[in-house]
């Protein structure tokens, strides 16, 4: 059952050819076979999973017609998502041993649907990074080439789907942390509209940008997981009360007659030639399906990176103030309270987190606030306005997801070169729009992703465009070497 889709497994569960326990056993066996190389998991939650699998088996037997398509399906959760009583570290030393006293809303909705949690996945510390090399628990190998990064920050969630261990996982996307690793590992990754998926129970990084979303093998599976987790939640004050339209209803409507925009800034000088070729071929496929393509301009793309690297660190410096050795996590004992704070945070945080906390504290400090934080907030408005203007003339935007394919581990030790990974994904976070990455080719055996962005709350349109493209190509069906390791 390795590398099957949700749709295939849901059918197999209903025709009696497998059981939730058998799927779980298969997933855990595949973790055991691949984990030495991949390091995609921070914890395997076997006891929880077995109880969930048994409950799912009961539901499938009692109510096979009304059971969710996710019932009995194994999945994995990025380790920034809280599960009651299950170790949740956010990839940080400072939260080693932390067991949340409650379960987050998106996760609870999956549990209510009968999904089976195989484990918590490795990620960049507090979701800060684009390669998963910033995890305090070691880097994650890309299933297409374990000497290379899987992207980040949700690298473990991407790698485990690319390795065929589970058909879906949840990640989080603050500046591209779902879409970029999806592109680099050859799977589908979707960041919904900001406010569509509750952030309750998500360990906060940058609260005005963070959004939870799925990794899957197909766009149809992605739509199913999205439909299960989306919708208003009174526990998140930024959760949007608008009704969520069923993404499966319009999934197969195609792109004939649609106007698609290609932002010229998203194919800038930093784009690798192989990525450019793959994405331009994808544009021709969309044209062949009846879409009309035109060049558009988002002039502030370049400066959006600067906006992001002020706003995200500013919000993170505030959100991470809570890690002070008092209520949770580790503590370095010192006689004075201030020294305890200082030493706990020095010992508990890794380099990238320290950089961002300091950068954010600086941008928010009296004397620099206007020049940095306030200015960034104003330019953020400009970034949104440019999207609004483009969406007057086109229905969706198509572009590369990442300027590069998966790069070798250790090759981007300079923070700025790592930040450049997010240049075409982070504008969607600043504007709150939905965005997806869908496999669109290979360069020397390494996957390339096509990004689709639509206006806010047009999540179904993003899925519809991605699905039309996917069904016309077979890149999504190609399996990484780790997905074909025999039992």
């Amino acid at each position: 059952m390795t590398a099957s889709t949700i749709t295939q497994l849901a059918a197999a569960l209903r025709d009696g050819s497998t059981t939730p326990r058998a799927l779980l056993a298969g997933a855990i066996a595949h973790v055991d076979r691949t984990e030495n190389d991949l390091n995609a998991y921070l914890a395997v939650t076997r006891e929880l999973a077995e109880a969930q699998a048994d409950a799912a088996a009961h539901t499938l037997e009692a109510h096979p017609e009304t059971a969710s398509p996710l019932c009995g399906i194994p999945m994995a959760l990025k380790d920034v998502l809280c599960v009651n009583g299950v170790d949740t570290t956010a990839g940080s030393k400072i939260l080693r041993g932390f067991k949340p006293p409650y379960t987050g809303t998106a996760v609870q909705r999956l549990f209510d649907a009968g999904a089976v949690c195989v484990g918590k996945t490795n990620c960049d510390e507090f979701a800060m990074g684009s390669s998963t090399e910033n995890s305090a628990y070691g880097p994650v190998g890309n299933p297409w080439d374990i000497e290379r990064v899987p992207g980040g920050s949700s690298g473990g969630s991407a790698a485990t789907v690319a390795a065929g261990t589970v058909p879906f996982s949840l990640g989080t996307d603050t500046g591209g942390s779902i879409r970029q690793p999806a592109a680099l590992t050859g799977v589908v990754g979707f960041k919904p509209t900001y406010g569509r998926v509750s952030r309750y129970g998500l360990i906060a990084f940058a609260s005005s940008l963070d959004q939870i979303g799925p990794f899957t093998r197909t766009v149809e599976d992605c739509a199913m997981v999205y439909a299960a987790i989306a919708g208003h939640d009174p526990r998140d004050s930024t959760s949007d009360p608008r009704a969520v339209d069923d993404p499966l209803a319009s999934l197969r409507a195609g792109v004939a007659g649609m106007r698609l925009g290609i932002p010229r800034e998203y194919l800038g000088a930093g784009t690798e030639p192989g990525v450019r070729d793959a994405v331009e071929a994808a544009f021709r496929v969309l044209e062949g399906l009846g879409a009309s393509l035109q060049e558009v301009s988002l002039p502030s793309t370049d400066v959006a990176l600067s906006v992001y690297y002020i706003i995200a660190p500013a919000e993170c410096s505030s959100n991470l103030a809570r890690y002070d050795g008092v209520r949770f996590g580790v503590r370095v004992e010192r006689p004075s309270l201030t020294e305890m704070y200082l030493q706990t945070r020095d010992a508990g945080f890794g380099n990238e987190v320290k950089r961002r906390v300091m950068l954010g504290t600086y941008a928010l400090s009296s004397g620099y606030y206007d020049a940095y934080y306030r200015q960034a907030q104003k330019v953020r408005t400009l970034v949104s306005q440019e999207f609004d203007a483009v969406f007057k003339n086109v229905d969706a935007i198509v572009s590369p997801t990442s300027p590069s394919v998966a790069f070798p581990m250790g090759s981007r030790s300079d923070p700025l070169s790592m930040y450049m990974c997010d240049v075409v994904t982070l504008p969607a976070n600043l504007a709150g729009t939905p965005g997806i990455s869908v496999p669109c080719g290979f360069v020397d055996g390494l996957p390339v992703g096509l990004q689709v962005i639509a206006p806010r709350f047009e999540d179904s349109r993003v899925l519809r465009v991605a699905h039309a493209y996917e069904q016309a190509t077979d890149f999504h069906a190609q399996l990484s070497p780790y997905a074909t390791v025999a039992a």
């Binding site: 406010g195 990176l305 008092v326 201030t338 400090s365 953020r380 923070p415």
Partner: protein, 88 residues
């Protein structure tokens, strides 16, 4: 000191160079004319979101304290504050 991270001198030296390079890169932001732009703090259009004024079962002291590095009864335990430097 505002960040409350007790860095070693070696860390300070390294971070200084890295942060300077990042700040230099993001300085291009200053060139954008923002005189006609309002600030965006959040992209949603929701304001003053209140929950229903209905009491809920609290999480309880035992669950709230379970993750504390040091606790005593119903309290988090920290070092003495009185007489110590407060502003670091």
């Amino acid at each position: 000191m505002l960040a409350r991270i007790g860095l070693s001198d070696a860390e300070k030296d390294r971070l200084l160079g890295e942060l300077e390079a990042i700040l230099e890169h993001i300085a291009r932001l200053q060139q954008v004319d923002t005189s006609a732009l309002a600030e965006t703090a959040q992209v949603g259009d929701l304001v003053n979101v209140m929950r229903a004024d209905v009491p809920e079962e609290p999480i309880g002291a035992a669950a709230a304290l379970r993750n504390a590095p040091v606790s005593d009864g119903n309290y988090f335990v920290v070092g003495a504050i009185q007489g110590a430097e407060l502003d670091g």
